[in-house]
């Protein structure tokens, strides 16, 4: 069975500080990976997707970047946090490329920027 792990569970960071969030999926080779952002009580917005190691595409520009250094790892980062970065960050995976494939979400990381 596939398992998806995100770290850290939660972070409190200062405006202007750097950030790095991680996501690892086990039990699935060559998954499609996605980063989502959710404001408190809000909807989910897809930020990035990756279909293979080293390739990441941006969906929405939020002064964030993403990388896929390994087949099972997806990293979300920024050098300077903004207040608007606060929220719930979710990593998701899907098995096959295509619009009919279900995306499965990880447990998420809660970020509060002060």
């Amino acid at each position: 069975a596939q398992t998806i792990h995100q770290w850290p569970v939660a972070e409190i960071k200062a405006v202007g500080s750097p950030l790095s969030l991680g996501c690892t999926i086990k039990g699935k080779s060559s998954p499609n990976l996605y980063w989502y952002w959710q404001a408190t009580g809000g909807t989910l917005q897809q930020l990035f997707y990756s279909i293979t190691v080293g390739q990441v595409e941006s969906v929405v520009q939020l002064n964030l970047s993403a990388s896929r250094p390994k087949d099972d790892q997806f990293i979300l980062s920024t050098e300077k946090l903004l207040l608007s970065h606060s929220g719930f960050y979710l990593c998701a995976w899907s098995q096959d490329w295509g619009n009919q494939d279900t995306q499965y979400f990880g447990p998420g990381t809660r970020l509060l920027v002060l």
Partner: protein, 113 residues
């Protein structure tokens, strides 16, 4: 572009009553619709999905039918339980190529005893 419209805000019901959460969508492509449920402080989980017109799909007592003629995919349950209290998202996947999901704003269902 694609869009999803859901029942606004908060729906409050007493345990045992039926519920319908509305979802309509707009897309120029052939749609694939999902319902995700998110309990408090948890990640969203898939509840239902469908791309077949006029076919009812069911899971955990919830059901929905995709109606392409009316661009709708309403979520229903005949008798809600306390554990159904959660945030429900309707999502649309298009055929643009990279498996983009467009989510609605979400509907909070609150079930009281």
């Amino acid at each position: 572009g694609d869009s999803v419209t859901q029942t606004e805000g908060l729906v409050t019901l007493t345990k045992g009553l039926p519920v319908m959460l509305n979802c309509t969508y707009q897309t120029t492509y052939s749609p694939f619709l999902f319902w995700y449920v998110q309990h408090l402080n948890e990640a969203p989980k898939l509840l239902l999905k469908s791309s077949t017109d006029n076919k009812r799909t069911e899971h955990q007592g919830f059901y929905a039918t995709l109606h392409k003629s009316s661009s709708s995919f309403h979520l229903q349950k005949s008798s809600v339980q306390l554990s159904d209290s959660a945030l429900y998202f309707c999502a649309l996947s298009d055929r643009s190529g990279y498996n983009k999901l467009t989510f609605g704003k979400g509907t909070v269902l609150l079930v009281s005893p």
